[in-house]
Symmetry: C2
Subunit: 339 residues, 2 copies
DNA sequence: TTAAATTGTGGAACCGGTTCCACAATTTAA
DNA sequence: TTAAATTGTGGAACCGGTTCCACAATTTAA
């Protein structure tokens, strides 16, 4: 490993001052034509590239955005990372991914603040360190993804859960389901689930519906968890007629559980998913789901951060992604039933 | 946004030199007890935290690892990111994710080298910039994931494709399938696919098998693509009796296509997947697949990088993940057939 | 009581760049 | 031909830390 060439090496070889080398790399139009050529030749010969670290020391700009995600089992996070990465890479920014799982509650604290100056902004995806993140806003732009905040200077990207549940419950009611027929399976009971729960309860209240408390379950996002919760629900004396899962993956597990119990989806029990509708149309039966692209959350958040970086005076940005109710085979209308 | 406190601010407030402040933060046992307290109090009062950038300038250690991934549609990459992130975060390293999609072929080149000093090492996941990455090895540790290299000083993490195909073909033959019955659907024809294709062909040759060229397809990793390729295969005069997909997600699409054509999996056509067996057991029918956890690739690669960082003299590290053949419902044995 | 070893401290130099500003050389205007 | 404006250049200072090393103060050994 031979040592890297520095700006001084190039300056010496080209027979100019280091200032001139710096200028050639940053504002070549401000330098003489011949000088530019000389310096570039020397730089090439030495394989010189300016060190981003040394640059950042002056700039306080690193062209790096941090993305703080809980390392959850759901693939949603992975999609968000993908979306943000794509948007930022295209614009020559880098993405630093940080884990905010609850096990790191204390280190993370230390850890992020440590990153302060290595990062031009932070995208925060509903983890547990909300308050810390809000404080960070005093130092740099912060975007919240699917997470509420009291602060009014924090940009946000949200999924319109209210609208989603309204669409869904309207559809189910018009399909002949009663509120007592409906079961709902949330993910792990964390900050994010609480957001959804609140939205769901609000809609239920608005629509004058009341679920049987036995039919509200907390699971853990994975297919296995959806499987287990379906077994629980179908073991009840009074079985639900439709089960809403807060993720497609859990719904997949749920459908399999029904099948393993000798029941048919949707004849014996209907199933609805939410989220990552990437494959829902291919499941057997295809899954009725509230579709949105988590990737879009990442893209929107990255966009907001760069906007804010360009203009810190911008009024607060709030992007709301609406879901689409994809009606597939996993729900069977009960219109004709005589209850 | 009030300015951040620097080491000099702390030194002044504590009435000591900046060297002493630096010492208190880095080697407190080398400083006097009272001094440590004084400095810590001053640091706390000012909310001081050492700037990682300024630190990195001396260290040439940033405690950051770069992960270069093609932004493919497959969820495999997302799993790899997750695994690496988890391992590194636990050890107080950060993960910088870079996109090596082919569209960025030129920028990427520039881009990575630009990152040189911000990164202690690079994990490279079968993208198109292989040669560039090999050059990087002269400057820092590089780990290749699922990518071959001529260089013998590059650590590697691989999936044992040879073993996987051996297991699979043995199983299929012993289940009554002939080579002419077998179709195989690869992903997009890129560096990574070529690796698998090579492995598969080698095994076929070893076992004296020959596939019908019509039955070898290149698709594009997504469920939709798997769907389309199944329609192509089932449209052939001589239909394959078993279709091997190089990803579970494509297999899911394929099974759905068969169903939409009025065929039953596995009675009319058997299907095999590969890869992300996270959900394969929950599909309907459950999918026979070559199971490995892409997440483990990320973990193993992260581990190798940190090992190498600790000891650059370490002999080359090669981790080979073996797959497990999960036999599920999507393949039906043809033992009894009279051909 | 004196010499030697240990402990703690801070100024100077450095990491590799950028910015500021004075100044020399050249070009343009009078 | 001379004064004013423009162009190009590089030394010094700086960004915010760490490392090196000399030296003072204290402790231990003789």
């Amino acid at each position: 490993m031979n040592k890297k060439a520095t700006i001084m090496d190039v300056a010496r070889l080209a027979g100019v001052g280091k200032t001139t080398v710096s200028r050639v790399f940053n504002k070549p139009e401000m330098a003489g034509k011949e000088t530019v050529e000389k310096v570039m030749a020397a730089a090439k010969e030495l394989g010189y590239r300016p060190s981003p670290i040394a640059r950042a020391l002056n700039d306080t700009k690193s062209r790096t955005i941090s993305l703080v995600v809980p390392n959850v089992e759901s693939s949603t996070m992975a999609e968000i990372i993908r979306g943000a990465m794509q948007y930022l890479t295209e614009r020559n920014y880098s993405l630093l991914v940080l884990d905010s799982s609850e096990n790191y509650a204390t280190e993370r604290d230390y850890f992020h603040l440590l990153q302060e100056r290595m990062t031009d902004g932070v995208i925060f995806c509903h983890g547990s360190a909300k308050e810390r993140m809000e404080e960070l806003r005093d130092l740099m732009p912060v975007v919240f993804v699917e997470s509420s905040s009291i602060r009014e200077d924090i940009d946000k990207v949200l999924v319109d859960g209210i609208d989603a549940f309204q669409k869904l419950f309207s559809y189910l009611l018009s399909s002949g389901f009663l509120d007592e027929d409906i079961a709902i399976v949330y993910g792990k009971e964390d900050n994010f689930s609480r957001l959804r729960i609140g939205q769901c309860e609000k809609v239920l209240e608005e629509m004058g519906l009341e679920l049987n408390p036995d039919n509200v379950l907390y699971s853990n996002w994975r297919a296995e968890d959806g499987y287990d919760s379906m077994k629980v629900l179908l073991g009840r004396l009074k079985r639900p007629k439709v089960v809403i899962y807060l993720s497609d993956v859990m719904a997949l597990g749920g459908m399999r559980a029904a099948h393993d119990l000798g029941l048919i989806v949707p004849d014996d029990v209907s199933v609805v998913g939410f989220n990552d509708a990437r494959f829902s149309a291919f499941y057997q039966p295809s899954l009725t789901t509230l579709d949105y692209k988590p990737e879009q959350l990442g893209i929107a958040a990255a966009k907001q951060i760069l906007n804010r970086l360009k203009n810190s005076e911008l009024p607060v940005q709030i992007d709301i992604l609406t879901t689409e109710l994809l009606i597939n085979e996993s729900v069977k209308e009960l219109k004709g039933r005589s209850k």
